[in-house]
């Protein structure tokens, strides 16, 4: 029995070494492939993509600006000022400290029994 368990454990450990080596190898190769792809494969793909779509891309200076004739720098400045004012100056800064000053009065008719509207009948 002892021998059996020992041999089983030896089996386990040899299997463990197999898993150790293959596992490490697979992890390395997976990440190596991934890094090789992003090092070399992707730039080529992006380059091909650029060649395929060539001609359809327009440079900024080629885009006609006739549609935007009325949109002058002054309009832009006015809009951006408005946005700026809207975002930043909605509230003027107020002093957020509130103080309550206690007013000491010797007499107040508030809730006075003498001037009450509901005089109790005696």
């Amino acid at each position: 029995m002892m021998l059996l368990t020992m041999s089983m454990q030896a089996d386990q450990i040899s299997e463990g070494y197999v898993i150790l080596l293959t596992g490490l190898l697979i992890v390395f190769s997976a990440l190596l492939i991934l890094s090789l792809f992003f090092q070399f494969g992707l730039p080529v793909m992006l380059y091909l993509y650029r060649i395929i779509t060539k001609g359809r891309d327009k440079k900024i200076k080629d885009i006609p600006i006739t549609a935007d004739e009325n949109f002058t720098g002054e309009v832009a400045a006015a809009i951006s000022t408005a946005i700026h004012l809207y975002l930043n100056e909605q509230h003027d800064d107020e002093n957020a400290v509130l103080t309550i000053k206690q007013a000491r009065k010797l007499y107040s008719p508030w809730s006075s029994k003498i001037y009450g509207t509901h005089q109790k009948l005696k």
């Binding site: 596992g23 490490l24 697979i26 190769s29 990440l31 890094s35 992003f38």
Partner: protein, 440 residues
């Protein structure tokens, strides 16, 4: 003050009532039966008193005071230490505080059989724990991580991906160590993944391999090691700022620590969008068992980078991951019920876990030095970033950054260290998939 006195008074009454009334600590069914037998013979006036006493005794037997063992007390103290570490030292408070309170919840002593405990079928905690046992929570966490992670530093410098692979030697080294200590193959695989330094992956793999349900080839059932493995993984992840710096100082000399790396190039949006799709295809074709983890990780990343699904990405990286983290933390904490958790195996797992973090860090550092042998000029990498190949995101990258600043106050490594860090996440998920396909 009055309230404290009142509570203290009630507590001390509950404790001291025990010897005064001569109650025995354990709820022995024999005692109860004899008491019931005696009841009809006593007189009416005394019978009421006796009944009341009996009720009190019943109540007392159901309280935690009667059922507490030293194991419960010890685990509650550990829970309090977790909460203290999280609050005081800011070691991953988002994990340690839910786990700490979970440990306390799981170790309140109770009478078994009333659907209270986390291991009793039908209890509420058991239903919440279902997500851990069946491996549902980890992929959801990975979705959130994917939606948070910026892979651009990795795309800019793909060779750093190998550092993430090198750190996985911690996984396989620990796996071998666990085999030598006499754990069965699936158990050893689940313990090994602690070296991946990735909480969700560790829970996922242990819920598949060491779940207390699977049958081993020799006919015995596998042990349930989810609790100890998860606690070990998360507590060592929280302790990364303590574990890693001494190893870095030991293995990397002062000159190498000062190496400055050239800033990573700008990465286009197109590349960022292509990355999750290509990486998903490549990695899951190689290791299909890691599909739940890697699939969700790259899905989350595509949500983030596509630019069209900002709403979904936003939910995944904030609300969703928060909800799952809360449930995961508290149930993993509660699964440490003393009678199941405090065993020799747990102690071994904790030792192996510490060793695995050390091996993983050393693996990353040494491989970075090895890579430097082949790199020239300003392509050289700072070997310190090898340490962030263990995937505790973003803690180990931050540790590397802080350690580099100590030797050169103007050497900012954070961006560079994030690359091996996120590739460590991918690497440990692949490693988990490999172990799963070999051992399940």
């Amino acid at each position: 003050m009055k309230k404290i006195l009142l509570i203290f008074g009630v507590l001390s009454l509950l404790i001291f009532i025990r010897p005064v009334l001569g109650f025995s600590g354990d709820a022995d069914p024999k005692d109860e039966i004899t008491t019931v037998d005696q009841l009809p013979t006593v007189e009416q006036g005394e019978g009421v008193f006796e009944n009341a006493m009996h009720g009190m005794q019943q109540f007392y037997n159901y309280t935690g005071f009667a059922n507490a063992t030293w194991g419960h007390i010890l685990m509650i103290l550990i829970g309090i230490v977790f909460i203290y570490l999280g609050i005081k030292f800011d070691y991953e408070p988002l994990l340690l505080i839910p786990i700490g309170i979970g440990v306390i919840i799981g170790n309140i002593p109770f009478v078994a059989g009333n659907q209270t405990g986390i291991y009793e079928t039908g209890s509420v905690l058991n239903y919440l724990y279902f997500g851990v046992v069946k491996g549902i929570y980890p992929p959801l966490i990975f979705l959130g991580i994917g939606a948070m992670t910026d892979f651009s530093s990795l795309i800019a410098n793909p060779k750093l991906m190998l550092l993430g692979a090198a750190a996985q030697i911690g996984v396989f080294g620990t796996f071998l160590g666990a085999l030598y200590l006499g754990f069965a193959l699936p158990e050893a695989g689940a313990i090994g993944i602690i070296g991946g330094a990735d909480g969700p992956t560790a829970i996922f793999l242990s819920s598949k391999l060491a779940n207390g349900v699977n049958i081993l080839p020799d006919g015995t059932t596998v042990k349930n090691l989810i609790g100890p493995i998860a606690i070990a993984a998360y507590s060592y992840m929280a302790l990364v700022p303590v574990i890693q710096p001494p190893i870095m100082r030991l293995l990397v000399n002062k000159e190498d620590r000062k190496i400055r790396m050239k800033p990573p190039r700008a990465v286009t949006q197109k590349e960022k969008m292509i990355f999750p799709v290509v990486a998903l295809l490549l990695t899951t074709f190689i290791s299909p068992s890691a599909l739940p983890l890697l699939g969700m990780l790259f899905f989350g990343n595509l949500l983030k980078e596509s630019g069209r699904t900002e709403r979904l990405a936003d939910t995944a990286r904030t609300k969703l991951i928060d909800i799952v983290t809360i449930l995961l933390g508290v149930t993993v904490g509660a699964s440490t019920q003393a009678d199941i958790f405090i065993t020799k195996d747990s102690m071994l797992i904790f030792t192996l876990g510490a060793v695995s973090f050390v091996i993983a860090t050393m693996g990353g550092l040494l491989f970075a030095k090895f890579m430097n042998l082949f790199l020239k000029g300003d392509n050289k990498i700072n070997p310190l970033i090898g340490a962030s190949g263990v995937s505790a995101v973003p803690d180990s990258a931050r540790v590397v950054h802080a350690e580099a600043l100590k030797s050169d106050p103007h050497n900012y490594l954070l961006m560079h260290a994030m690359a091996p860090n996120v590739s460590g996440v991918i690497g440990s998920a692949i490693a988990a998939g490999i172990l799963l396909s070999f051992l399940a």
